[in-house]
């Protein structure tokens, strides 16, 4: 059996689902961030897969690189926010933080 585009798409769909599941269900803010990374990487797989099998140039690959950089930057900012949350609440449990309600 030859590995084709649909295999990649299934993997990426599984990753996206896992990522969303992680974002929604995890209590810990760091775990939520990890879920977001999963979502981003699912997108990366899509880009790369379409770049390989599609009738395109290297744009998909470049896009993947760009997303990796973006994810790094996002992680840095998000971790800084998490640190601040910790400073304020002394924990990082997302479900206990309801200040947005007010």
């Amino acid at each position: 059996m030859e590995v084709g585009l649909s295999h990649f798409l299934v993997v990426s769909t599984a990753l996206l689902s896992l990522g969303i599941y992680g974002v929604i269900t995890r209590k810990n803010a760091v775990m939520v961030l990890m879920g977001i990374e999963l979502i981003l990487n699912a997108a990366n797989i899509n880009f790369v897969a379409f770049s390989k099998y599609g009738n395109f140039g290297l744009e998909g690959q470049v896009m993947a690189l760009f997303i990796i950089v973006l994810a790094a930057a996002e992680a840095a900012i998000a971790l800084a926010i998490v640190l601040n949350i910790y400073k304020t609440f002394n924990h990082v449990n997302v479900d206990e933080i309801e200040d947005l309600k007010e």
Binding site: I20, V94, D95, E98, L100
Partner: protein, 692 residues
Amino acid sequence: MSESILVTLSIVILFLPLLGFTTVLLFNKKFPKLYLFEVGILIGAFLLSIVVLIVKLSSYLDTEIVSSFTWIDFGDVPFLGRVSVELGVKIDNVAAIMVVVVNLISLLVHVYSIEYMRGDKRYNRYFAYLGIFTFSMLGIVITHNLLMMYIFWELVGLSSYLLIGFWYEKKSAADAGKKAFIVNRVGDIGFFIGILILFTSYNTFTFDTIFEQIAAGNLPFGSSAWLTAAGILIFMGAVGKSAQFPLHVWLPDAMEGPTPVSALIHAATMVAAGVYLIARIFVMLTADAMLVIAIVGAFTAFIAATIALTQNDIKKVLAYSTVSQLGYMVMSLGVGAYAFAFFHLVTHAFFKACLFLGSGSVIHAMHHEQDIRNMGGLRKKLPITYASFLISTLAISGVPLTSGFLSKDGILAGTYAFGSLTGHWLIPVIGFGVALMTAFYMFRLVIITFHGQPRDQHKYDHAHESPFVMAMPLVVLGVLSVFIWYTPLPHSPDAGWFISSWVKTPHTVVPAESSFEFMVGGAAENAGIIHSEMYTEAMHHAHYPAMFLSLILGGLGILLAYSMYQWKKIDPDKIAGKVPGLYKFSLNKWYIDELYDAIFINPTVTLSRALAWFDNTIIDGIVNGSASLTRFISALSGLFDTYIVDGLVNFTAFFSGFIGITFKKIQTGKVQTYIVLVVFSVILLIFIVSPF
């Protein structure tokens, strides 16, 4: 003394009583003795007026002193020409004499009132009113134009209203004041229209200018009928003020005022104003107007004399005798006996003031008893009053040696001459008949009041002669009713200075064809006697017959009165019983008041009631109806506001609140919940938007 000083003096005389009026009215609360100031002012005015009269008669006997200034200059008015209103004074002999008469009688009334009105709660105010009355009358006397005449005319009306209704707590007095005022208004309408006819024709109010225009042949609207109309309309004003038929009804009622006021009204002010007005416009009266005036005067004299025969109130008798004598004066002017009319105005002023003040003295002594049937024998108790009253009665009856004889004889001669010249014999016949009745009712009054036995012993016992301040005016006026002040010869008024040099009949300015023949002509250069020779001759012929006739009739009247009331040879009740209709007719004043009630007052009241009903029911109904309609609509609109508009607003608020409360629940504040929602929403969107 120069003319300008004379003018200044007369203006000072005019304004002195006004000064008294304002001062007393403003400060009477602070100074209870202020009435003495008013009396003092009158003394001053009287002395000044004597000076004016002497200077006028000695230095300016035949000149008319006129001084005027332009009050309003309208300039050149389109369609009218030059219009200006002048104010000013005109002092001729008539005015100068009248000023003295007015001031003298007013002064005596003031003095008399000091005692008569003592204790009245509006004592000072009474004197203030006397002051403005005198002021108004003086204004009428010295003015030189119709506008000022009219203004002062109305002021006289106002003052008479104030004084007749002085005891306004009494309903009859308040009513009498109103009656005098309203009845006078009726005449004043005519007066005003007459003035306007002249003003629209000549653009001026000044007497002399108007007369010059008429003399130049410039008649109002080019017709002598309009001149007649103007004359009669202005005469209507005199009919009101001088109490001529049919407007004489106010005067007897005016007896409700204090008695000195009656004396003032009947002698010097008010009623004299009417006669004076006719004298002022005498030169512009046409033959028709003069005939109307003569007839009205004669008829008034007759009615009033017949009424006076049967009255039992001392003041009512005198009131009707005044109306009757005023009828004489008006009649005299109507027949062209101008000088005698004015002469009678002056003599009548003195003896009538004396009679009224005398009756006041009687009333005062009898403690406000006015019915002569309760008097009698007062001669012994009130000798001074009796003596002066008797002299005045002799004068009004036309007994020789009195002033009344002279003036009345002149008037009767004038009517006699008029009858012989024009054939209107009814006028002299009425004149002589009235002379008979006058003598009769005046002596009836004297005999019942002063002679015989007292009828009310209690009141008689308490009667006492009046004190000096009341007796003095009586004596002065009684003395002035003797012939010697007017002529050296007691049988001939023509020999007196009054007729021969002071008062001269002015030239008529009416065109010859619309004037009486005897009024026109006469040598123009002979300024003294202006009547034609025809008239002079007729007067000459009339003099002796008229004198004898009036003497016989006067004597007959007196004799009749004596035989009825003194010697009781004839029973007056029997005569009254024989002609009960006539007696009732006279006693009830010819039913004229009742007639006016039926013709004018009742319809007016009925109409007013109907209009009041209309107002109350229809007009008020419409107003109230529209009000309740508005209220009803407002209530509806209020309900709409409360339930529909407010309901909508409240519903909006409630709905927003409901939505808010409902959707608040998804606003958990938890990031993860939001994310779940976003994911589901995105999935939903994909399904909605996607083509499959």
